[in-house]
């Protein structure tokens, strides 16, 4: 009786050990005869196909893609895995704003030795985001998200509107839309998308974080950001623009049925519009973002990620080689464009053959990507701090509250500043 129980228990434990050994393939390195197996956590659609090309050409360095989460959630998983000491991937797709967080947690390796030579292949603003202003290089830029304005050309024509070139014109257009058709809005202000607001602030010249020697400076409520916040706050209070969050079923419907007729967004918008508002194909057009002063041409970045090699990678040299290939090789970047739907960070790729045709969703705008490249070159650089997530969460909470309380947006920006700076101080960062 008891001995049988013990025997059964022993079998169970041994069995568990065997199964654990069989299934933890991504935990233990398998190097057989000089071949290296690398894991790559990414979320770009169809990136597996690009990786297949690499695997075919490089049998010694085999890369396996795992798509389990996006953006911030992926960062959390990587950090948790790093804390636990096992299960950390060798390569990981990291959005630019998450790089300082990962570097601060010793998750990313410095690959300056392997990829430093590629510096000139990328715009300065993007390269700065992967070096964090230091001599080290923590990732290779993959794609970029310069911001531009998308609008329904058919509805603009119908309502007799012209494309606004300055933010003042944009405000006037918004009011006109409401006047002519109370069921429509020019666009919506989203309290759920801090990256969008960050990009707009970048355009105005905001510098939320900056480094002075060994001290951080946090200035989320600098005049540039306040200008942007007050501008949009005024429009929301007036009712000139809508206040619903983006990326909801309601927002999809609004894009489909013309309740919203313009969208300040980034270069990757065609893919989103195609997925969410397929019925409006061919009715949209793209133009540069409205400017704060007439004649200027500046923009900011919304999103965009890089490929990093982790500190725990089995073979950093091999991983860095792959990362560089993925983001600079003409075939690889072309495929990332056509199948992944992203806008490459590499300058060569931006002028490459894959981007000679306009996106399928914009069949009538032949020079879409030529224009995009010109706009991309004007994108401002930006320094991200080590606690971007705190700032982003504060944005969501503060701005959504400001909307429901009908309070001015300037106060929301101050709340973001307060939350960010106190979190950094609490953790011991040196904040000036």
């Amino acid at each position: 009786m008891r001995s049988r129980l013990a025997a059964a228990a022993a079998v169970a434990v041994v069995g568990a050990g065997l199964v654990a050994g069989c299934s933890s393939s991504s935990d233990s390195p398998t190097e057989t005869g000089g071949r290296v197996d690398l894991t790559f956590w990414a979320w770009v659609p169809n990136i597996e196909k690009v990786v297949d090309k690499w695997n075919a050409a490089n049998p010694n360095i085999h890369v396996t893609v795992s798509k389990q989460a996006q953006g911030d959630e992926l960062v959390t998983k990587v950090l948790t895995a790093a804390k636990g000491g096992s299960g950390v991937p060798d390569l990981v797709q990291v959005e630019y704003q998450a790089l300082p967080t990962l570097v601060s947690n010793d998750v990313l390796a410095d690959i300056a030795g392997e990829v430093g030579s590629a510096k000139d292949k990328f715009a300065e603003g993007l390269w700065q985001q992967v070096t964090l202003g230091t001599q080290a290089v923590y990732a290779v830029p993959q794609d970029a998200g310069p911001m531009m304005l998308y609008y329904r050309s058919d509805l603009f024509q119908q309502l007799g509107l012209s494309v606004p070139k300055t933010w003042d014109e944009f405000a006037a257009t918004a009011r006109t839309v409401r006047q002519k058709d109370p069921k429509r809005f020019l666009t919506t202000f989203s309290a759920a998308d801090p990256g969008w607001f960050a990009g707009l602030s970048q355009q105005a010249g905001a510098k939320w974080w900056s480094i002075n020697g060994e001290t951080w400076t946090v200035a989320i409520n600098d005049p540039a950001t306040k200008k942007v916040a007050d501008y949009w706050g005024g429009l929301v209070t007036e009712g000139a623009v809508d206040d619903q969050p983006m990326y909801t079923p309601e927002w999809n419907k609004a894009l489909n049925d013309g309740t919203l007729i313009a969208w300040p967004s980034a270069v990757w918008a065609p893919g989103v519009l195609e997925g969410n508002a397929a019925s409006t194909k061919g009715k949209w057009a793209m133009a540069p973002l409205p400017q704060w002063s007439s004649g200027e041409s500046k923009t900011g970045n919304w999103g965009g990620s890089s490929t990093g090699v982790t500190d725990k990678a089995k073979d950093k040299k091999a991983a860095a080689k792959f990362a560089l290939w993925l983001n600079t090789d003409p075939d690889a970047t072309a495929q990332l464009v056509t199948e992944g739907g992203l806008y490459p960070a590499s300058r060569d790729a931006q002028a490459g053959p894959a981007l000679q045709k306009p996106p399928t969703f914009f069949p009538d705008q032949a020079d879409f990507y030529t224009q995009a490249k010109a706009i991309a070159d004007t994108a401002a650089g930006f320094t991200w701090g080590p606690n971007v997530n705190v700032a982003y969460t504060a944005y969501r909470d503060a701005f959504s509250k400001a909307i429901t309380d009908k309070a001015p947006f300037g106060g929301a920006v101050d709340q973001m500043q307060e939350a960010t700076i106190s979190d950094m101080r609490k953790n011991g960062f040196k904040v000036g």
Partner: protein, 308 residues
């Protein structure tokens, strides 16, 4: 003979412990150890030096009760607790009231379509909370909601179910929808176990069905009601998935709307496992006190059977 008997008695003494061993081992590994680790983490914090970007500039150091002080002093946590109490005050009575009514109706003799109703009302139990919240989100959003469509058609004013005034009802509704079936079945089976004679006599005396229900049935199923209330209260205190799923759809939900959401934010968004640990211990303690208080009350009634 005596030796054998003694050995048997000794062996018998140890049998319960042997039988409990698997449960104790698993429990220790997957519940006790993490809880202990959480308690340990709650006493530590991260200290950064300078810019925090260089190697090894982050260190985990002992923090004493600092995390607890911060958690208890955080106004947002108390606000969240208040919101959850309101949510619970709406959810629990309505859900259990409906469950009771449905169970009583199912137990009444003159009801039609019994099987259909029983299965339908129980169906939401099969839907994961994340999916259920998404489905209801679709049904709440004004432009895609059929309800709003109907209201517009009838000329009635639109209800902003995701607005700040009604959001707590919208959330409670998801919980009610998901939980009423299960609780109904629990109460119903308690009702079915009542000997028929108890209320046949009442019926013969001329009591209406309603009076039978109120005077005879309800008092007898009070223990079942107490049990379902406790579990409902515990679940309410830990509400998380519904507000998390609805949050991207509306401006009315802060990321720390419920205390558990605050823990999630700390652990997953701010990567501050230490604050999260401290807040978790606080919440666990509160839940423990409340639940054990109730369990004490019902312990006799719940286990009276085996003490005979």
């Amino acid at each position: 003979m005596a030796a054998v008997a003694r050995r048997r008695r000794t062996a018998q003494h140890l049998v319960p412990y042997a039988f409990l061993a698997p449960a104790i081992v698993m429990f220790s590994l997957f519940l006790l150890a993490p809880i202990g680790y959480t308690a340990y983490l709650s006493l530590r914090k991260i200290k950064v030096e300078g810019l925090g970007l260089g190697r090894g500039s982050r260190k985990e150091v002992f923090a004493g009760l600092e995390n607890y002080r911060q958690a208890l002093g955080d106004a947002e946590l108390w606000r969240g607790a208040g919101r959850v109490l309101v949510y619970g005050a709406i959810l629990t009575p309505v859900m259990l009231g409906l469950a009771l009514v449905f169970a009583l109706l199912l137990d009444s003799p003159r009801i039609g379509l019994r099987r259909f109703s029983r299965i339908s009302i129980f169906l939401p139990f099969a839907v994961p909370v994340v999916i259920a919240s998404l489905l209801w989100g679709f049904l709440y959003l004004p432009s895609v909601s059929p309800g709003q469509h109907l209201m517009r058609g009838l000329g009635l004013p639109e209800l902003d179910l995701l607005g700040p005034d009604l959001i707590v009802f919208a959330l409670a509704n998801i919980g009610i929808w998901g939980g009423v079936g299960f609780n109904m079945i629990v109460i119903y089976t308690a009702l079915r176990a009542i000997p028929r004679e108890l209320y046949e006599s009442a019926r013969i005396d001329g009591c209406s069905e309603f009076q039978v229900a109120v005077r005879v049935k309800i008092p007898i199923v009070v223990p079942a009601l107490i049990l379902t209330t406790i579990f409902s209260v515990i679940a309410t205190l830990q509400v998380f998935s519904e507000p998390m799923t609805l949050r991207p759809l509306t401006n009315s939900l802060a990321s720390t709307w419920s205390p558990i959401m605050k823990i999630y934010q700390d652990a997953f968004a701010r990567n501050d496992i230490h604050s999260a640990a401290a807040t978790s211990m606080v919440i666990a303690l509160v839940t423990l006190v409340l639940s054990f208080g109730f369990l004490r009350l019902v312990q006799n009634r719940a286990f009276g059977a085996e003490n005979q």
